[in-house]
Symmetry: D3
Subunit: 329 residues, 6 copies
Amino acid sequence: MASTFPQPLDAALVPRFAGLPTFMRLPAVTNFSDVDVALVGVPWDGGTTNRAGARHGPREIRNMSSLMRKVHHVSRIAPYDLLRVGDVGDAPVNPIDLLDCLKQIEQFYASIFRAGVIPISAGGDHLVTLPIFRAIAKERPVGMVHFDAHSDTNDTYFGNNPYTHGTPFRRAIEEGLLDPKRTVQIGIRGSVYSAEDLDFAEAAGIRVIHMEEFADLGVAATIAEARRVVGTEPTYVSFDVDALDPSFAPGTGTPEIGGITTLEAQHMVRGLRGLNLIGADVVEVAPPFDQGGSTALVGATMMFELLCVIAEAHAQRRTIGAERSASVE
Amino acid sequence: MASTFPQPLDAALVPRFAGLPTFMRLPAVTNFSDVDVALVGVPWDGGTTNRAGARHGPREIRNMSSLMRKVHHVSRIAPYDLLRVGDVGDAPVNPIDLLDCLKQIEQFYASIFRAGVIPISAGGDHLVTLPIFRAIAKERPVGMVHFDAHSDTNDTYFGNNPYTHGTPFRRAIEEGLLDPKRTVQIGIRGSVYSAEDLDFAEAAGIRVIHMEEFADLGVAATIAEARRVVGTEPTYVSFDVDALDPSFAPGTGTPEIGGITTLEAQHMVRGLRGLNLIGADVVEVAPPFDQGGSTALVGATMMFELLCVIAEAHAQRRTIGAERSASVE
Amino acid sequence: MASTFPQPLDAALVPRFAGLPTFMRLPAVTNFSDVDVALVGVPWDGGTTNRAGARHGPREIRNMSSLMRKVHHVSRIAPYDLLRVGDVGDAPVNPIDLLDCLKQIEQFYASIFRAGVIPISAGGDHLVTLPIFRAIAKERPVGMVHFDAHSDTNDTYFGNNPYTHGTPFRRAIEEGLLDPKRTVQIGIRGSVYSAEDLDFAEAAGIRVIHMEEFADLGVAATIAEARRVVGTEPTYVSFDVDALDPSFAPGTGTPEIGGITTLEAQHMVRGLRGLNLIGADVVEVAPPFDQGGSTALVGATMMFELLCVIAEAHAQRRTIGAERSASVE
Amino acid sequence: MASTFPQPLDAALVPRFAGLPTFMRLPAVTNFSDVDVALVGVPWDGGTTNRAGARHGPREIRNMSSLMRKVHHVSRIAPYDLLRVGDVGDAPVNPIDLLDCLKQIEQFYASIFRAGVIPISAGGDHLVTLPIFRAIAKERPVGMVHFDAHSDTNDTYFGNNPYTHGTPFRRAIEEGLLDPKRTVQIGIRGSVYSAEDLDFAEAAGIRVIHMEEFADLGVAATIAEARRVVGTEPTYVSFDVDALDPSFAPGTGTPEIGGITTLEAQHMVRGLRGLNLIGADVVEVAPPFDQGGSTALVGATMMFELLCVIAEAHAQRRTIGAERSASVE
Amino acid sequence: MASTFPQPLDAALVPRFAGLPTFMRLPAVTNFSDVDVALVGVPWDGGTTNRAGARHGPREIRNMSSLMRKVHHVSRIAPYDLLRVGDVGDAPVNPIDLLDCLKQIEQFYASIFRAGVIPISAGGDHLVTLPIFRAIAKERPVGMVHFDAHSDTNDTYFGNNPYTHGTPFRRAIEEGLLDPKRTVQIGIRGSVYSAEDLDFAEAAGIRVIHMEEFADLGVAATIAEARRVVGTEPTYVSFDVDALDPSFAPGTGTPEIGGITTLEAQHMVRGLRGLNLIGADVVEVAPPFDQGGSTALVGATMMFELLCVIAEAHAQRRTIGAERSASVE
Amino acid sequence: MASTFPQPLDAALVPRFAGLPTFMRLPAVTNFSDVDVALVGVPWDGGTTNRAGARHGPREIRNMSSLMRKVHHVSRIAPYDLLRVGDVGDAPVNPIDLLDCLKQIEQFYASIFRAGVIPISAGGDHLVTLPIFRAIAKERPVGMVHFDAHSDTNDTYFGNNPYTHGTPFRRAIEEGLLDPKRTVQIGIRGSVYSAEDLDFAEAAGIRVIHMEEFADLGVAATIAEARRVVGTEPTYVSFDVDALDPSFAPGTGTPEIGGITTLEAQHMVRGLRGLNLIGADVVEVAPPFDQGGSTALVGATMMFELLCVIAEAHAQRRTIGAERSASVE
């Protein structure tokens, strides 16, 4: 049956530079019900307070995803044999009107959610995660594994504006979409506006693993801690590329030196196998500040890493579900 | 008395790469009443519908303005001997809230206007001209010499949003700030959304000189026509760098091939000597899309060209005024 | 009925940075019979003797074609109202095996040709025109308006290799695909290997308009001469971006300084209105050597210019045909 | 009283891309006595033997320092609450006359020194440290923590020229400005001209920690060793960005692969807390060879790291001094 | 006698930016018998399946090798005092005809081999190693230490083409040139086309050390394992720069994130001291995708690292040989 | 006999990306007497007052000169059949000591001059022309056709320093090396430090053709005027790439917008046929500020254009000389 699942173009037949650059060279899908996992672009950076450009992220991530192949080299997960995966295109956006755009993104994801599809998204700045949460966590708050240089739990900017890419998770907690006690932030660093900047996060119960603690703990212990925090309940993974050191991901709006390496990031994502993952995103890839597509390549690879982990867990759940149904009968 | 006028740093004493990059290496001025002409930055691109980045324009134009010297090589105008010119910094902006930002910019320019100071501004995207007009043309509509690839008289975008960098001059006409009959647009070109796109401009009475007509007319006839259109009444000059061919100005959001050359642009600005110029801007320099600062250099040079023309005219008006006062006595 | 023709995405609804970058943001079409004009990519540079990279041309031209709109600003031609136009994807290519690739490209275009569809192609290096000719000019040789810095009528390279991007038109003439007497080359320049380099072209009867002659003649006389040469018979337009000066088109494998401007090129293509055009290509856009996409933007714009001219002529022919059919009945 | 200390512009009011780019967005100060710590630019690369460009370092470091905030995220040091810090502009330089320039820089720093102000400087190439030492170490030699890929203790170049960026510390030792026994060099690596290249440094008693030894020791042991070497006497910190691997700091004149990471560098600078630091510099940021400002961002961040350590130590000394004065009374 | 060996230009007399950029600034040599070690360029990327450009590798590696000096800073090996080393220029190549080119390269290296000279080569894509093996391993298969992100043991591409940069080592094993049991691959990673992709390598007996195993083992254990595998028999070292993380080596055709660092690579090459090395190459440096020459600098440095190890071992063998001869007499 | 003249590598045998990049791919020559025309590099920018980098000019011009072929496409001049031309390498330079460097360059050119060889040089900044003049114009002053944006006849900088790239021709006139009455400057433009800046040039009798006058005159009249000024006496051609508009030559230290095109420049150089040319240079190509080698390509092409004109004139003089000798006998 797997043979009928959508497959990427075969690079030994169609060179990687040929063809329309969909995510992973998968078919472009217009009907959500045709897939189990939807790869989605959210080309919007309306929440960016300094260096915009993440609006161009989905296109360049799609381009560089041409370099991805079909099977994970470590886990041997073959996501396209496990599930139906497709590129469902971009969420509708509005580069001029922030509130309207938040609403449009939310509605788009609500449709995905209603179709029972897991979204893996390419931002866009980090504010895009808020309307995604509004769509998929309305009924009950999600937990989150959050890779980032910044906590993104500031309050307001520029005269009490509550919605920027520095504020989504304070809003999500306030709105009951994100469970701070089941949230872990990894890689946080960089100078802060005031010593109180992280008070909200900590008071709310978020487990903040600063870069310095991560350097001490190492990958394995960090992942163990992350798994402990999020537990077995529904969990979202949000990967801001500025979690990475700028030498790995220069193309981003708010780079902070002294970050994690791509290899560490890959190991951490692989460490999420078996969690109850209901969605993920890779955000803040800003092509106008990128160097030769290197950040877009990182973005594409992290999407593939996330896809493998999610596909495996999803397929297992389904198998278990099927077995249960069968055993019930 | 000229000796007390602010002067740029002397490049034979302080190398051009040294010192804070104010516009033209002039003193930073905080009190509007200390200058006759204010060089202003408007670091905002909230009206940009596609490739943002003009928010970074003022900083890079300031950088490249280090290459400017003190006297115009053709006209021999020495603006800093004629008038007090200074860098008054940036207008306050809000990258998140469009309407708030329009208001803040307007208020800043209203203060400049009340101080009797002529502003020469570096954008920012072209929407910034609208709040400038609201500040300086409230009492009576201005005429305009407008260099651009686009008429910027579209109506709405993305669901009836009236304020984008494609709409400022329709709004300005509707608000009675811009006199379309005293407006000339030079360099208009590029494919259009529909054959009706330019109907508003033409119906309103704007004199649109498409690139193709400009190529036929040549510089001298174009300038003659522009002078005829704007006449002797108060006139504003708005220079969108995308009027230039992208080979001269790659760093802009909406490039259109087949544009005018910098030499043609310089000749046309020089052709505005003696007009009743009350302000000018250079907009749409978008550094993230620039190549080695070339567009910022063009922006800085066009600001200097505009400054020379404005300084001469302003000094003449003042002299005439002084003579009139004297003869009255 | 025009309302059912495929239309580009509306940039006032879906921003230009959003969505899959098909040519002109048109629908991706898989069935040739669904279009009258096919926009095709040929991502192959196997004939390149020095700086490869044109294999990446179609993808980047598609990207920058997002900046195109729907109606020509001078001619007012609205191609998508006249004809069915679509992006039919890329010809199959083989980056390792030159002869196999020539065959695959030929077969792809033969299918297009059999469907009665006019191809407008984005290369690829200039060798791609040869298999296109083999597909569409098998029955009778075509004439050609050829914009280029190089005549591309050399004989062999690297030990008698007959197929490189410096030889396609000698081969095409030898194979009876191209009528040299109905061929005009515009913009030829640059140092040559030997004084005899252009002997073949001239002996064959090609009308070679060197850059220097073009500079003397000007656009209008050059176009008049081109029209005289190709006459009313079926004619192909091949636009090598190195015809342009490298300041306009840096992203190409064999740049030659002292070339034509984009405005001149646009005027010349517009001058081809009404000719019996059966196909066109834009070749030698090499993104690894490009600067910020400027050459890809030129490529996309020239494709749009060619599309407008071809659409108008094609629609006229059809109308005439229809009228004739009608009058016959 | 802290409330009267100069503060950076508030990024939640004035976006980081707005305003003149002073170091850390602090006020530009013209009177040395207004500050306790002076941030200084030295835009000069007259000692560069190969790839010049560090003359442009201060301007670009100022630009990227817009990304710095106010409080250190690990140490919670808030330097602007502890001390008066300001941007005192650039030292006077002469790009044509090396000896004159050395003299001018020395005089500028002598004035800073006489005012009792601690300088933290942005070079410029590494030769700029020599005139700084001449100004501040005339009375007694300083110790130094020196991060670099090169020992910079060569003798002469190009026909007995004693002053290049490869020789400052041999000169400083010869002139009695630098105490080699209290000097530690960290990160030294790269092929050498001859096996004797490091003999001077070792014979003089410098503690040279090659990259390879650093990789073995790790950050903590390296810092312990550095603290042991410099002891409690007055110490200067000189940070050449080529100590870092070129993947972190490509914009420099003499890159050597296999260097330290930014995170390691940050940890080491943080390890200098409590030392008797009397000045510091960050040198060899060469913007023409940089990639998207990444090296300038590193330079700005390292300046902030140094500032935090120096501010804390300086404030402590002052408190202790005040307490002593008080207890004496 | 060492004094008569060829030496690099002295950078303290002739600046590094001056002079023709031969490898390491050594003399250009035309007679193979004048050297013991030949530095060779192979400017060819005819086997590249996606992003070509490695054909420009030798020229840019030569450029950046100007930054190399004469003595290794750790091992103190002074290769130019031990052996005669020279730049013998580029192998003849054919960018159009793959099979002809393989033959030409083979013949060139056969001449080098017959002259008893050890080649250290700069590619070119990885297919160039195959004809080198055909020249130097005809008589008996070599062992190999292979640094790479990819095993390069795929079978065919694009319709049964056996020769691409993804297949050289399967061909070499099939042709009896490479002993898989004496072959170790280090750094292998990245998604694969199918789970069976590495079956050939493992079935053949290659010791594959994936990136993940390398991260666990560390440098020392990896090198110990590599030495165990290749033993004391003749061994070749092939260094594909994509073994490195793209942050260190962005300029390559098939980057895979999560790779090894340059420092690790240097340590591993240094760990090969004393092996029976008969040749080496550094391949896949693709300048059109490089950033400011950083990958070419890595390539040049790795060539120098390899040269030092090979020179030492070769000189030792010769000394031993001479001693043996002497003792025999 | 021509067959024994040195020839460039044949690009149909050795691809242009292969081989050492000598000027025009000619043999590297060490004995001046082996050539009639010497192509020389002068990698020095010690006179640069702002953006250094021209020291890297010769290397990159050599690189891009790989794109030159053997015969001029308009004049059909085949320089390598007329004369012996070779790459004699770089003049010795000193990046640290200006006066020493001026002396070394002078001595190098004095040797060339004594050997009766015509030098065509690639700078370096424009100060390099002064020591060339000291070598070749000692006996009698030369005339000059000077393409530049700047007159380069300023007096002193930075505290009475007489030698910068802004002063060479004032010095040359003062030293009696350059005949101002036989000097024409073409393309002069850009803002000036004071209205008196050009007084020296004009008072000395230089014919200054500002950009604006050139635009009026056109190429033909400008060349006629230049020929009138320099007459039939020995004349030098100095081509500063900043004469060109920065869109054609971005890689230069002091760009001024509104410059001449490459096509105009080529036509003007071709207009110098038959003059008594004794040397030429192309200066101020600054690769760190270049874009993809475009300025270096311009530099290489202008050297080829100059070579053709000089070779023809030189060969004619020799023929005439030989005929005269013959007729005397």
